[in-house]
Symmetry: C2
Subunit: 379 residues, 2 copies
């Protein structure tokens, strides 16, 4: 890349924890880290418009390569020069490699040195092969600002041998992904490596070293939040994150609850994605400064107060608990929308506050206050 500005700039590290604040530069704008990425699986963050995403503070969203590859397909998205034009989202996009979804959604998926052979979960008939190189090519067609290497994610629990082999395959695929990426002249899209290794520290260390040797603009920790106990997830993250290069962004994939984010940031994580705020919103589970509110409960029936009295989101500024509950009871589309706006605002506002705390040298106090406040209460 010809630009002189670095892809990632580390602005601050917390003196007593590993929490960091930084900045990522992409062709579609800057990202202030730490950052949470709303999940827009099918070229839309469910229920929201791009304007609403911007209003809740989204700086980057995630698209799922597997879904988009199958529908509408890269040929259609290519007519719009990629996902940004297709879905009218002007800011950065990160896409996953598609591997995890093949593993979890596709029928008859079969893994080999080449990649994943699978049948679409949509039509059931069509056969596809997702190779390491192909995963990069699809993401180039989507023109995502940050592409992910194809990796093999394993279920929990997994035997050492299986975890080791999956990690090794992930490393070999990462080399091929990087080669394919580098073969593209002036490729504007960044490519991240993914650390695997299951719940085995030595495998995690080996994976970190191998990814670092290959060399990427950023690194992800994959294979967490796959069913393991929370303590184990935190232990693996705490073991893995500090070993990653300090001058590159660190992305913990598929995580997590609001507390998970704060704790992971303390361990040195910079980027997150999770369906939790959006999916839970559609089930009526709302994150608030006082804990989780289940808005469908009868106690909210005639409550004229907003979901969260200290929240500044569009939903809380204009609507009551009673109205949002009514929309859920009446199965109205606006229910999902107002709830999603609120939950994403909660996540993005939380991470914005965390960032300011890091920059102002008061992250530890912030995290302490957050821990004593945010958990548990279910209304």
């Amino acid at each position: 890349m010809a630009e002189t500005a670095p892809f990632f700039q580390l602005l601050k590290t917390c003196p007593n924890t590993s929490a960091r604040a930084g900045r990522i530069r992409t062709p579609h704008g800057e990202i202030q880290t730490p950052i949470f990425m709303p999940v827009g699986t099918q070229a839309t963050v469910k229920a929201l418009s791009p304007e609403e995403l911007e209003a809740v503070g989204a700086q980057i969203i995630l698209g799922n390569t597997y879904h988009l590859y199958l529908r509408p397909g890269t040929e259609v998205i290519g007519r719009f020069n990629g996902l940004h034009g297709f879905m009218n989202w002007p800011k950065p996009i990160l896409t996953d490699s598609g591997g995890f979804q093949v593993f979890s959604l596709a029928e008859l998926s079969k893994i080999s040195e080449q990649g994943y052979a699978f049948q679409s979960h949509l039509d059931g008939g069509a056969r596809h092969l997702l190779t390491a190189e192909g995963a990069v090519e699809v993401q180039m067609a989507l023109n995502s600002d940050i592409m992910m290497c194809l990796d093999q994610c394993i279920a929990y629990p997994a035997e050492y041998q299986q975890a080791s082999e999956a990690s090794d395959l992930t490393t070999r695929w990462a080399r091929r992904c990087k080669q394919r990426w580098q073969a593209e002249p002036n490729c504007p899209n960044a490519l991240f490596g993914i650390v695997q290794g299951g719940m085995y520290k030595d495998l995690r260390t080996r994976s970190v070293q191998e990814m670092g040797t290959i060399g990427f603009p950023g690194y992800a920790v994959g294979g967490l939040s796959v069913g393991e106990p929370k303590e184990l997830m935190m232990e693996m993250a705490g073991h893995t994150l500090p070993q990653l290069p300090a001058d590159a962004p660190r992305y913990v994939m598929g995580v997590g609850t609001p507390s998970d984010l704060v704790e992971m940031i303390a361990l040195g994580a910079d980027m997150f994605d999770c369906v939790m705020p959006t999916r839970n919103a559609r089930n009526g589970q709302l994150f608030t400064s006082q804990g989780i509110v289940n808005i469908t409960n009868a106690c909210h029936r005639d409550d004229t107060a907003p979901i969260d009295p200290i929240c500044h989101c569009y939903t809380c500024r204009h609507y009551s608990r009673a109205y949002v509950r009514h929309l859920f009871a009446a199965k109205e589309i606006l229910a999902h929308r107002l709830a999603t706006i609120h939950n994403l605002h909660y996540y993005l506002d939380l991470i914005r506050q965390v960032r300011v705390a890091i920059l102002e040298d008061r992250f530890e106090a912030f995290a302490r206050a957050f821990r004593s406040n945010a958990d548990g209460t279910i209304v």
Copy 2:
């Protein structure tokens, strides 16, 4: 009412047709007639926010008393001083009386001189009685700007005797509704009478006379678009509308297609409501300057053009046919939203153009051009 400004002001009548342009004053603002009212059955126009409604040009929306009475109930809505505060819609609202929905949705509904006895379609168990006075009281609790008298709508076809009795009952209910309305000191809500009479001209004439004798700020033509042939609907409207007082707004209930609106306006109608633009939107049927586009059709798969090249709605300014089709195929919520925005914009823009044409003495030419252009083409 103490105000000196009249409720309705007739600004212009087309010299060769009966088309009119006027203005209605309500506590929540003015309405420019002719006007189309988007249907917001359950305290939300399905898929849209109030801001989006304003952006498509909605000046007044319709709420359904039957639905709101059952859920969330007037007690809840009363806590917000009515529907405007509950749903965050600052502009005028018209509510129906609930009678038509009792007739079409409720279980075991039974009609008597008192009103409708029925069981809720929601819980099936609770028994309710909707009297003429009760219909006004519920609408006062909703604080709608325009309330409707309880009426008896009959199915098509209906015997003369049945139509006559229903029309007479509607008249007796209208008297009671007006009495209940006048018993309220300084009631800010207007009350419209509803003309019935089935497909019998003499009954329609009698109903018009009786309603006019009772006297209301505005009059609706009910009992049209209930299954009769279009020619018959137009014949009945053409017979009924000119007999209504010229100095009051005329509302044709539950109508219709874009052409129906233009033709009814030519006959002297001022106000319309219909679920067609919103319901068809959710089925992927989009109204355009070239005819109806079925956006789910495969031919739109990779079409980068907007739904309607000459449309200025949010959807057409930002999204392609390919994207909207993809959202429908992926069953994404945003599909309903973008389609609803487009269809409502089409309706409201059409009626805005009609109004300007009336004011500029070129309604006939406009209607001619519209007729030759808008019908038929299905893509």
